[in-house]
């Protein structure tokens, strides 16, 4: 039975679903049922085969740092964030990358490339929250 108008209106947005997973330390992805490609939940058509039939998969939000920057001049909304890094990381088990906010990073010595990070939540003000992970690979 198709969803009622009320049910459609109540359906959380794609971004809301992504955020909800992030609050559990997960990264919400879509796996294409045609070719198996993984993409972030916010992608609507498979970027490999073009199909739009997906299986929703929550992956552990643990990854390795691909690159990052430490912001000395913070943009609006981040002035109170202290010394922080914006980090691009690759998930451990799948060929998929995401990015997030990592507090308490002052120098490049604090975060060598390849370091482990993990998703610890989502904050309306600072976005996808990360912390350095002690879990060994």
């Amino acid at each position: 039975m198709p969803p009622t108008k009320q049910e459609q209106e109540d359906e959380p947005s794609v971004r809301d679903k992504f955020i909800k997973s992030a609050t559990k330390g997960k990264i919400l992805t879509n796996q294409c049922t045609n070719c198996g490609q993984y993409m972030l939940e916010t992608v609507y058509f498979c970027d490999k085969c073009g199909k739009n039939s997906f299986k929703s998969v929550e992956l552990d939000g643990i990854g390795t740092v691909v690159t990052y920057t430490i912001l000395a001049v913070a943009p609006e909304g981040f002035e109170d964030a202290g010394s922080y890094a914006w980090v691009v990381f690759k998930l451990i088990d799948k060929p998929i990358r995401a990015s997030g906010f990592l507090s308490n990073v002052a120098t490049s010595g604090d975060l060598p490339l390849g370091s482990k990070v993990m998703v610890i939540g989502y904050d309306e003000k600072h976005g996808l929250l990360l912390k350095k992970s002690d879990q060994a690979e």
């Binding site: 990052y68 000395a72 001049v73 943009p75 609006e76 914006w86 691009v88 990358r97 990015s99 976005g127």
Partner: protein
């Protein structure tokens, strides 16, 4: 049957912190281009306008306002936005319409008015050009995004922060020779390395300034250009490309696919190779961008640009001069105007108006301009008409 497309006239305001309104800036550049071409506004069949932050100066839908104030209110205008690449993407559309024969003569004007908002709000507005949910929303400023690209590049290739500084010093040297440049001041390698960190590893002098300004071109068919009898320049190649919007979506963060693909199209259309290019205006919003651009455009092998720049290959008298105008770094970066401003530089170089920054014996030139971190890009190739 397609038309050869020519640049018949060019005009530009000074770039910098300017008092005029966004509309006045656009009109000043347009008037200069029209007079330079030796035409009347009545000859213009359509207007193409590039702009990003019109709302910051309380004016959107700026195309009809510009056309009305040029005295041609019944000539259609179109505004195009593609972040920092708006000018070149708009140039491509103007080019395509003349190429296809829809119009004999069009106005292409890019404009931006941003400095009155202050650094904090400007930084915020620019962050809206990123894939905001993943980037700006997680704390990445634009310098931050390019800093993350720089960190990836420096850790992958043999390059240092000092190599980045060589780009800034060279472009400031060129900017001193450009009377319309935003920053006309010599700097040293030490000045760059000792300037305050904005987003590591990028420092203040690795970054282009926020600028106001406008630049305009008159594009036309070859037949129309010949009928006017003024000097003109031919556009012999045009290409556009795209990349994943977010940095995280790119398999290799040290290259920009939109540049590579746009260049390939432009070279093919023009029937030339990178070795045929006599000089180029490239998108150096941050020093790392110029290093990556010159590799993606085929001027240097991957990973080799930094050493070639250090050796002087990209200076005005080098093997392939890059950004004789001073580039975004010194000439300035009024983002809606930048892509058109690059073509204005080519027009001035090829019509004897570039003064001390003239590239001797140049006949083929390339412009390259991208939006955001390279999510969109356009490349054009120009030929001097003797």
């Amino acid at each position: 049957m397609t038309n050869k497309v020519c640049v018949l006239g060019a005009g530009s305001t000074r770039y910098g912190k300017l008092n005029e309104s966004i509309i006045e800036l656009a009109l000043n550049a347009s008037r200069e281009a029209i007079l330079s071409a030796g035409i009347s506004p009545k000859d213009i069949g359509a207007g193409y306008i590039s702009n990003v932050f019109g709302a910051a100066d309380k004016q959107v839908h700026i195309a009809p306002v510009i056309m009305s104030n040029l005295g041609i209110p019944y000539v259609p205008g179109l505004t195009i936005e593609s972040a920092c690449g708006s000018g070149s993407v708009m140039l491509r559309e103007a080019f395509a319409n003349v190429y296809a024969g829809f119009y004999d003569c069009v106005l292409a004007v890019g404009v931006e008015k941003i400095t009155h908002t202050g650094t904090t709000q400007s930084t915020t507005l620019f962050s809206y050009c990123s894939d905001f949910f993943y980037e700006g929303g997680n704390g990445a400023s634009f310098p931050g995004l390019f800093a993350s690209i720089a960190r990836a590049y420096l850790s992958t290739h043999k390059a240092t922060e000092e190599d980045l500084a060589y780009v800034a010093v060279k472009n400031h040297d060129n900017g001193i020779l450009n009377p319309k440049a935003h920053v006309r001041r010599k700097i040293t390698i030490d000045d760059v390395l000792n300037s305050p960190v904005v987003a590591s590893p990028l420092k203040l002098y690795d970054c282009c300034p926020f600028s106001d300004g406008a630049s305009a071109l008159i594009l036309c068919s070859e037949k129309f250009a010949k009928s006017i009898g003024r000097p003109y320049v031919e556009i012999i190649g045009s290409g556009r490309g795209a990349s994943p919007a977010a940095v995280q979506g790119r398999a290799d963060i040290t290259t920009i696919p939109s540049t590579v693909n746009a260049a390939k199209q432009a070279y093919n259309m023009a029937g030339v190779t990178p070795s045929d290019i006599d000089f180029a205006e490239v998108h150096d919003c941050f020093t790392i961008a110029e290093i990556i651009d010159t590799e993606d455009l085929g001027f240097f092998e991957k990973g080799k640009a930094a050493s070639r720049i250090r050796e002087g290959d990209t200076k005005l008298t080098g093997r392939i001069p890059i950004n004789p105008s001073g580039g975004l770094k010194a000439k300035g970066h009024p983002i809606g105007a930048t892509g058109i401003g690059q073509a204005v530089e080519v027009f001035e170089q090829f019509t004897g108006k570039a003064g001390q920054r003239t590239i001797k014996d140049a006949e083929i030139a390339l412009t390259h301009n991208f939006g955001a971190t390279g999510a969109s890009a356009a490349v054009h190739i120009f030929k001097k008409v003797k």
